[in-house]
């Protein structure tokens, strides 16, 4: 039963859960927000890692390698969800987000002044900025937050996102625009305001 892994390649699957379980789970939770899904993603990640452990060249740390695999599993999970529950585009676009009319006047110019967000310079500032960022993402409408996170995780691969979510590129760009505007406004309150 307790076959010890021959760690010729320097990896030790026996202890993955103990060593990285919490970190990987926390990471998955940041994107998926639901325990069951995050647990499944961690499991799929570790099983996939075991399967492909021959490919682990030891160039990055074991944890960085596992996190890279986890990212793909998180993307898979979000895609699966969105296939099951397709996005209601009109609903999301009008859903509790500030409309353009609150930001721009009828000629399309900014109503209010725009506070400049200060670069978080120190490590402590960075941590506080990230906390504010996390808070603001959590406060976004969930579907929009998920789309925003998926876009960042999946990189430029927006074509696949559109296919999975059954939306047009134009809709995707509009929703990402909304999510970024939402995030910016929230941060201008939560970051600049906390100085």
């Amino acid at each position: 039963m307790t076959d010890t892994a021959e760690s010729s390649s320097g990896i030790d699957p026996e202890r993955w859960v103990e060593r990285y379980g919490n970190d990987l789970f926390r990471y998955a939770m940041a994107f998926l927000r639901e325990e069951k899904q995050a647990e499944d993603a961690v499991q799929e990640c570790l099983l996939a890692a075991l399967e492909s452990s021959r490919n682990y060249a030891g160039k990055s740390s074991e944890k960085t390698w596992l996190t890279g695999i986890l990212k793909h599993k998180i993307i898979d999970s979000i895609r699966r969800q969105s296939r099951e529950k397709p996005l209601d585009v009109p609903e999301i676009l009008t859903d509790s987000l500030p409309g353009d009319e609150e930001l721009f006047d009828e000629t399309g110019h900014w109503f209010a002044s725009i506070p400049s967000l200060d670069d978080p310079a120190s490590a402590l500032d960075k941590k506080r900025f990230w906390q504010a960022l996390d808070k603001c993402i959590t406060a976004m409408p969930p579907k929009l937050a998920q789309l925003f996170m998926l876009r960042e995780l999946a990189g430029m691969d927006t074509e696949n996102i559109c296919q999975d979510m059954q939306i047009t590129s134009t809709n995707l760009w509009t929703m990402l625009y909304r999510s970024r505007m939402n995030l910016r406004q929230c941060l201008e309150i939560n970051w600049s305001g906390s100085r």
Binding site: M1, D3, A5, S7, S9, I11, P13, E14, W16, V17, G21, D23, L24, F25, R26, Y27, M29, A30, E35, E39, V42, Q43, L46, L47, L50, E51, S53, R54, K63, T67, D100, L103, F104, G108, H109, W110, S113, I114, P115, S116, L117, D119, K126, K127, W130, L133, D134, M149, E152, M156, S169, W173, L176, Y177, R180, M181, L183, R184, L187, E188
Partner: protein
């Protein structure tokens, strides 16, 4: 000339697609004369860069109260063991 609203949309879209030459020129000219939009671009760029750093490493997401439950941890450990036993020479 592009309005601030149009510029804000194009700046966001420039992250997701390549803007046309005309769009780039229009945005560039607008930014040259509009300090509000310059601040807007600064803020959007900052948020994008910080977010990318935030998700680069799990340590950056500090939420110590979130932990993998003991039951789920054990379940995953068992799965790994089964998988390893099924392919004893894999590792």
């Amino acid at each position: 000339m592009l309005s601030c609203k149009e510029v804000s949309q194009l700046v966001s879209e420039s992250v997701d697609r390549d803007l046309s030459f005309g769009e780039r020129v229009g945005v560039g000219f607008h930014l040259w004369i509009c300090h509000k939009c310059r601040k807007f671009v600064h803020n959007m760029t900052l948020i994008k860069n910080e977010f990318r750093q935030l998700i680069a490493e799990p340590e950056n997401l500090c939420a110590p109260h979130i932990e993998l439950s003991a039951a789920a941890g054990e379940r995953i450990r068992q799965k790994l063991l089964q998988c390893q036993c099924a392919h004893p020479h894999r590792v």
